[in-house]
């Protein structure tokens, strides 16, 4: 129960096939990844390079002035190891253009601005590079709502969204993502010393096992407590899942007609391909 070990070869096969198919069937052959220096974007970049060929992948580094120097260094390790194309576009000037208008802007608000600036840069580059943006959000983040809507969660397709963080690390290690990236503390790198686990108040190792029971195994919260998880922890996670559900769905359209997008106008994105 709660064993999150995965067969990395099988995951790799399915996910590279997914990236290749879902990009080429709509007439593209290239992909972009916003490379942060963390393990999630590194793994997306590795998968995209294997699926499409390194020459068809553009790694976009988008540092802000407070970004850790480690982040760029680690991103460069990925670029050098894979031989993907790369471009560095600092977002300091564009972000500060907004941030400086609001001296009282708090850290969370500023973090959202940075994430959305990066989205603008990435989508702008996608039209130049003629490729699709490959996402980097993992299942843990998606379920906890630990992302910026229309920011880091924006993408054309997401190969990582059904892998918990601990599973994603297994796949990253198996694909030879540099060990220093696999091992380092996950961070949104919005301010010095920030880590995801400090901010969330629990570790990925702990929360992944709990999420697995709640979501994959359909345990009730009470059953999770019976299985040994602290009630406060279970309640906090259950609340987060519900509270941030809006980030996981398209904005609801107010229904007026007999046929409405989102309710009874139902087609896959792959319609006709």
């Amino acid at each position: 129960m709660g064993d999150l070990s995965i067969n990395t070869e099988l995951a790799r096969r399915i996910l590279t096939g997914f990236i290749h198919t879902e990009i080429t069937r709509v007439g593209f052959k290239r992909a972009l990844v916003g490379l942060s220096g963390g393990v999630d974007s590194a793994l997306s970049c590795f998968l995209a390079a294997e699926a499409l060929g390194a020459e068809n992948v553009l790694a976009v580094c988008m540092p802000y002035e407070t970004s850790s120097p480690d982040s760029l260094e680690h991103a460069q390790l990925v670029i050098d190891q894979l031989g993907v194309q790369s471009i560095t576009i600092p977002i300091t000037d564009m972000a500060d253009g907004l941030i400086h208008q609001f001296p009282d802007m708090d850290r969370v608000r500023m973090g959202n601005v940075l994430a959305r600036m990066r989205m603008i840069v990435l989508y702008d580059q996608s039209s130049v590079f003629n490729g699709l943006v490959v996402g980097t959000s993992n299942k843990t983040e998606i379920l906890l709502g630990y992302s910026t809507l229309y920011g880091d969660s924006a993408c054309a397709l997401n190969p990582l969204g059904d892998l918990y963080k601990t599973q994603l690390r297994q796949l990253a290690a198996a694909m030879n993502v540099p060990q220093v990236i696999v091992d380092k503390a996950p961070t949104a790198d919005l301010w010095a010393g920030q880590t995801d686990e400090d901010e969330l108040g629990f570790t990925y190792a702990e929360v992944d096992k709990l999420l697995y029971l709640l979501v994959d195994e359909r345990y009730t919260p009470a059953e999770c407590v019976d299985a040994g998880y602290a009630k406060q922890f279970v309640d906090a996670v259950v609340t987060r899942i519900r509270r941030f559900h809006f980030k996981r769905i398209m904005p609801p359209v107010a229904k007026l007609s007999n046929r409405t997008v989102g309710y009874d106008f139902l087609y896959l994105r792959d319609w006709g391909t």
């Binding site: 064993d3 070990s5 995965i6 067969n7 070869e9 099988l10 995951a11 096969r13 399915i14 096939g17 997914f18 198919t21 879902e22 397709l157 059904d162 009874d264 106008f265 139902l266 087609y267 896959l268 994105r269 792959d270 319609w271 006709g272 391909t273």
Partner: protein, 289 residues
């Protein structure tokens, strides 16, 4: 008697019957080159699987007048075919159907009886439920067709067995799920184990033709199989990719297995009927109806 059987483990273009017809014809060409007698395509092979609101615009009539089936009926002059399509009946109900075509004729049409409408599946929203499970005669013996969820239930294969089928033709568009440490997905293990069990329990050939490819984030895992009446794996198509898998079946294996293991001879069908009647006449519901 020998039967050279081909499993056409294809990917499809979602909602484009003409393009999928061209792929069927390509596979017919490949199969003929390998001496195939019967070529089995997967579920909804002419349209793709997650059709949703596309169903009414891509459905075919199960008739020689239908332009898509007419082309396949021409091909069936050269080899027998099982093809999958959304079928529109004369009263405009839509079914998930599979047709057995031979010598220019539609020999049999099976309409999917069990439409999964739970979890990731929503078939009952878009399709009508078939309500018949019948075996049919071919020049290679008596066969039966079931479509995906049909054989996740144990009663449809049982009915086909009692109705005389010796060769079970199962078709699927099975989305892969259940990643673990195992080298196979949970779905693959499940489907392979039940198909092997049916082959053993019914001392029959069990043929499974599954899809390959992707539709949005769904991945169809392939791995089509044939099990012989001993439950031994005769052949398996590769996982996760398209391909034609051809194997020549020695149909005399039915004789040898059933001489050793007379499960069919000893099956007590009248008792089953009596007990079913008793169970169904009870006021208490212990199962679905």
């Amino acid at each position: 008697m020998k039967l050279t059987l081909g499993l056409a483990q294809i990917n499809t273009c979602l909602g484009n019957p003409e393009k999928n017809l061209a792929k069927h014809q390509e596979y017919v060409g490949k199969a003929l080159a390998q001496g195939v007698d019967l070529l089995v395509f997967p579920e909804l092979s002419l349209t793709g699987y997650v059709l949703q609101d596309l169903v009414p615009s891509v459905a075919s009539k199960a008739s020689a007048d239908d332009p898509i089936l007419a082309e396949l009926l021409k091909s069936s002059q050269q080899l027998d075919l099982v093809v999958g399509f959304p079928e529109e009946d004369e009263r405009n109900r839509f079914f998930i159907s599979a047709a057995y075509l031979s010598k220019g004729k539609i020999v049999h049409v099976h309409r999917k009886v069990y439409l999964p409408t739970y979890g990731m599946f929503d078939e009952g929203r878009f399709f009508a439920w078939g309500d018949s499970i019948q075996a049919f005669d071919t020049c290679f013996g008596r066969m039966g067709i079931l479509i995906c969820e049909d054989f996740w239930h144990s009663s449809p294969p049982y009915l086909l067995w009692l109705d005389g089928a010796d060769i079970f033709l199962f078709t699927s568009a099975s989305p892969g799920r259940g990643l673990s440490v195992d080298s196979k997905l949970g779905t693959s293990r499940w489907v392979e184990s039940i198909n092997q069990a049916y082959a053993r329990l019914y001392t029959s050939f069990v043929v499974h033709s599954n899809r390959a490819g992707y539709e949005d984030g769904l991945h169809f895992w392939g791995g089509s199989t044939i099990f012989n009446p001993n439950g031994d794996l005769v052949c398996q198509a590769p996982y996760h990719k398209e391909g034609l898998c051809v194997s020549t079946l020695d149909l005399n294996q039915l004789h040898r297995t059933r001489a050793r293991l007379p499960l069919l001879r000893d099956e007590r069908t009248a008792m089953v009927q009596r007990e079913l009647n008793r169970i169904l006449s009870q006021d208490k519901n212990n199962s679905g109806r």
